[in-house]
Amino acid sequence: MPDLSINFAGIKAPNPFWLASGPPTNSGYQVMKAFDAGWGGAVWKTLGVPVINVSSRYGSINYRNTRMAGFTNIELITDRPLSDNLKEIEEVKKYFPNHAVIASLMVETKAEWHQIIKDSENAGVDGIELNFGCPHGMCERGMGSAVGQEPSVLKTIVEWVMEVAQVPVITKLTPNISHIVEPGLAAAKGGTDAISLINTIKSIVGIDLDTFVPYPVVGDKGTNGGYCGPAVKPIALEMLKELAKHPEIKHLPLSGIGGIETWRDAVEFILLGAGSLQVCTAAMHYGFGIVREMIAGLEQFMVEKNFETIEDFKGKALPNVTEWKHLDMNHKVIAQIDSSKCIGCELCYVACDDGAHQAIQLSETIGVRVPEVIEENCVGCNLCALVCPVEQCITMVDVTTNPTEVTWEEKTEAGKVPTTFDDDLAGGKHHYVPTVEDALKFRK
C-alpha cells in the first residue's frame, strides 16, 4: 500500500486531503466527523472578529443534470465567537493529535494579528493560514482580497505574522488579480512558510428572470459572490503552475485548492506541484464521505504507477508545461473516426463544419450516417473528438512527417514566420476553405 502521509511545511497529516476553510470546518463537531470519515486535515473556518451573515447565501450553476458544477457564496468569515472556536480546536486536537488542524485567520491590525496567532497556537493548531482571499464583504472592510490584491500590503502583513508565529504559516491567495505571481512573490518575500490557492473567484452565477435579482437572493437584492466548485479547477491549476514554476516561489510548499472533487482532480493538483489539497464545495455537496473515493482512487493510481509517496510524483507535470512558443510546430495529429463505434449523431461533422475547419464530410451513401474525415483539411484541433459522445470513437492519430522539432521561437529566429498581413508564410495560406457560395447549398 502506498504511503499517503505528508509533511507540508512541517505540518504533518495522514493524507493530503484537507478540508478548506469554509462551512464544513465551522465547528469541532464537523471537523471530528470529517477526520473519522478519512480527511487528513482541516483548515478551520476563518477566525477573526465574528461577523453577521445574510440569508440566503449560496447559489450554483447547474450544468444539464449536474448540480453545483459551479458554486457561489456570499458568506463572510466565522460568525462564532473566537473563544468557542479555540476551545473546540483544543478538543479536536486531543482526539486527533496526528491530524492537521490549521487555523485560518483574518484580522486588521498588527496587534490583532499577533494576539490571534498566539491564541491559536495556545489552542494547539498545527499551522495557520492567512486568509487574503475572500472577494466579498470582508474586502470592503480592507481585509480578505483587499489585502490579497495589494502585494505590498500583503507582504507587510505576512511580515507581521512571521515576527511571532511559532507554527508553520500558509498564505492563502485570491485569484482575483491579473497575475498570481505578484501576490505569490509578495508572500514569499514576506517570509511565508507556504502558499495555498485559490480562494473564490468574484462572480455572479445567475439572475432570477422574474425578479431580475442576482443569485443568491437576499430579499430584493443580491451581490457578487465567491465562485468555486468543479468549474474553477482549470483556473486554480493554472495559477498553481505559475507559482510552482516560478524560480523565487517554487521552493515553497503549495497547497492546491479549487474544484477538487475526485481522485483525478487530486492527482492533477499534485502533478502540478501541490503538496496538500484542500476541498470545500465537494464536501458541501456530498458530505465528508466523498473523501473515500478520493483516497481509494489516489491509492490505486499510486499502485498502478509505482509511486510510494506523494513526493514521488509531486510536480511531475511541471516540466511538460511550457510556453506556447516552445511547442513543436512539426507535430501533427488528425482525427480518425472508428466507424464501428459511430452512432451517427453527426455532431463532429457540424462542429467541424460550422465551428472549426470544414474537415469532416457526411457520407454520400443514403442511410449511412458515419461521417468521414477529410484528412488534408484536418488541422488536428480535437474539437470533433471532444464533442463525440462515444468513448474512443474519434481519436487523434499522430501523422507527424517531420520528426525534427521546430518551435515558434526557432522559426522566428530563422525568419520563417509571417510578418506582413498577406505573408506567404501564413499558416492557413494553403488550407482549404469552401467558397462563399458553398454556403448557399444549405439554404432551404
Binding site: W263, Y286, G287, R292, F301, V390, E391, Q392
Partner: protein, 443 residues
C-alpha cells in the same frame, strides 16, 4: 404459443437465452454512473445483503477507477460479478434507489457492478492476496456461493482451506440452477477461477462428504468445518403416477439444461407445477427451449404466488400460459407421462379447499415439479449435536454462523432454506469471521 424456435446449436441456444443484463460498454457505464447522486446513508447499500458501498463503486467507475470499483465490490461480496448479473436487483438495491420516487429509472446497479468486476476478471488484475499462513486449516463442504465466499475470506486471513464438492464444477446453483439468460456457465466459472488464482484455496471435485466416517476425518484434520451444502433435490409430491418417465424435478431438469444446452430435448407440451421463482424459471426455460405449449399451474391465486412479479412477467413474455387455482391429483400415462389430472381449488382465507368434482385432464409430454427442494436432513443428522429447525434448516448463531456443534459453521440455502446467491455470499463471509473469532477464543 411459444415465441421461441427450438435451439439446434449453441448459437441458437444463446439467442433464445439472450442475457437479460448484458455487459455495459464504456460509454454506457460512464453515463449510467454519472447519474448516481451519491446519496448519504444510501438506500441501495442498505438494501444489499452484503452492504456493498454502492455509491462509492459507482463514483469510482465514473472517475475512471474501475479497478478500485471492483475492489470495493469484492471487498464486500466475493461473488460480486455473479451477483451483478443474477441478483433480483429490482427488489434489492435498484428497488431502493431514490430515483424510483421521482419516476426516473433507477440506476442500473447490477449492470454497473458486472461492468467493473468483469474488467478486472478479463484483464486478470490481482486485487487480493492470501494472508500470511496462520497455521490453521478449515474444511468447507460444498463449493457453492456460500462455500466459496467462506473460503475466500478465510484465505485472506491466512487459513489453509480445502473445499469438498460433490459435483465436478464449482459455483453450486449459480452454474447448475440459475436461469441461463441471467448468467452463462463461463461467467460463473470464470469468477471462481479468478478468485482461486489469487487466493489459492483447493477444491476437491467429485468428492461428496456423505457418511459419518468422512465427517470424522474432517473433524480430525481441520480446526473448523463450514457447511455450505445448499438444499437437496426436488421434494416428492407423493402424487399418483409421479414415477412416470418425463416427470422431472425442476432443479434436476435445470441442471441438465445448464449442462447440455441445446442438446437437451424438451418435448412439445410442458406443464410446470409451482408458483415460486424456480417454477417461473423452469417455465421460461421450457418456452425458450422451443416447447410449443408451456402451462404454469399454481394451486392458489396469482397474488399468493411466491415468485417475484418480474420473474412471472419474464415467463409470460416468453409465451408461458398461467393457470391458477388448480392442483394436480394424478399423473396420467402409460409408462411415459401423457397428461395430468387437476382439481380446482378455492382459497378460504388462506386455507386451500378442493372443489369436489372439478377434476379435469390436461394432456402433456413433460411435467416439471417446481414445488420446493427437500433439505439435506439425512446428511446433516449424521453430524453429532447439529440441531435443525422444524423445516430441517441448520440452526446458527445469527452473527457468527456457528451451529450447535461448535466445530461446525454453516450458511447459505442450508441455513436460510433457499434465498439468493447474495445471501449465501454474506453468510459465507460472516461465517469465516465467526470461525476466526471462535478459534481465537480457544487460545
Amino acid at each position: 404459443m411459444s415465441e421461441y424456435k427450438r435451439p439446434l446449436s449453441e448459437a441458437e441456444f444463446e439467442k433464445n437465452f439472450k442475457q437479460k443484463k448484458p455487459l455495459m460498454n464504456q460509454t454506457e457505464a460512464f453515463y449510467e454512473s454519472s447519474r448516481c447522486l451519491f446519496c448519504y446513508d444510501a438506500p441501495c447499500m442498505n438494501a444489499c445483503p452484503t452492504a456493498i458501498d454502492i455509491p462509492l463503486f459507482i463514483k469510482q467507475i465514473n472517475t475512471g477507477n474501475v479497478t478500485g470499483a471492483a475492489k470495493t465490490i469484492f471487498d464486500a461480496n466475493w461473488l460480486g460479478n455473479a451477483c451483478g448479473k443474477v441478483c433480483p436487483t429490482g427488489v434489492l438495491c435498484e428497488g431502493a434507489c431514490v430515483y424510483n420516487l421521482q419516476d426516473v429509472p433507477a440506476i442500473q446497479i447490477g449492470r454497473l457492478q458486472h461492468y467493473a468486476t468483469e474488467k478486472v476478471m478479463r484483464e486478470d488484475i490481482e486485487l487480493f492476496r492470501a494472508g500470511e499462513p496462520n497455521g490453521r486449516k478449515v474444511a468447507v463442504i460444498g463449493a457453492g456461493p456460500a462455500g466459496i465466499a467462506c473460503a475466500c475470506e478465510l484465505r485472506v486471513m491466512g487459513y489453509e482451506v480445502d473445499i469438498f464438492e460433490a459435483k465436478e464444477k464449482p459455483s453450486g446453483l449459480t452454474v447448475y440452477g440459475i436461469a441461463p439468460y441471467k448468467i452463462t456457465n463461463e461467467e460463473a466459472l470464470d469468477e471462481v477461477e479468478y478468485l482461486q488464482k489469487q487466493l489459492g484455496f483447493s477444491i476437491h471435485y467429485n468428492h461428496p462428504i456423505s457418511d459419518e466416517a468422512a465427517l470424522k476425518d474432517l473433524e480430525n484434520d481441520y480446526a473448523a468445518i463450514f457447511i455450505g451444502v445448499g438444499s437437496g433435490p426436488t421434494r416428492s409430491l407423493l402424487l399418483k403416477g409421479e414415477e412416470k418417465e418425463n416427470v422431472v424435478g425442476a432443479v434436476e431438469w435445470i441442471e441438465d439444461l445448464r449442462m447440455k444446452h441445446h442438446e437437451l430435448y424438451v418435448p412439445e407440451r410442458v406443464v410446470v407445477i409451482g408458483g415460486g421463482n424456480t417454477a417461473m424459471d423452469a417455465a421460461s426455460e421450457s418456452a425458450r427451449m422451443g416447447a410449443k405449449s408451456v402451462i404454469l399451474a399454481y394451486r392458489r391465486d396469482k397474488e399468493r404466488m411466491g415468485a417475484y412479479k418480474f420473474e412471472y412477467e419474464t415467463a409470460i413474455s416468453a409465451g408461458v400460459q398461467s393457470w391458477f387455482g388448480i392442483q394436480p391429483v394424478e399423473i396420467l400415462g402409460n409408462g411415459k407421462v401423457e397428461g395430468i389430472r387437476f382439481v380446482k381449488t378455492t382459497d378460504q382465507n388462506g386455507r386451500l379447499e378442493i372443489i369436489e368434482g372439478s377434476e379435469f385432464d390436461v394432456p402433456c409430454d413433460m411435467v416439471i415439479k417446481a414445488t420446493g427442494q427437500a433439505k439435506l436432513g439425512g446428511f446433516l443428522k449424521q453430524i453429532s449435536g447439529l440441531e435443525l429447525d422444524s423445516r430441517n434448516r441448520i440452526k446458527v448463531n445469527s452473527t457468527t454462523f456457528q451451529t450447535t456443534n461448535p466445530k461446525y459453521f454453516a450458511g447459505g440455502d442450508a441455513v436460510n432454506g433457499g434465498a439468493e446467491v447474495v445471501n449465501a455470499c454474506f453468510d459465507g463471509k460472516m461465517a469465516a469471521k465467526g470461525i476466526d473469532l471462535w478459534l481465537d477464543s480457544l487460545l
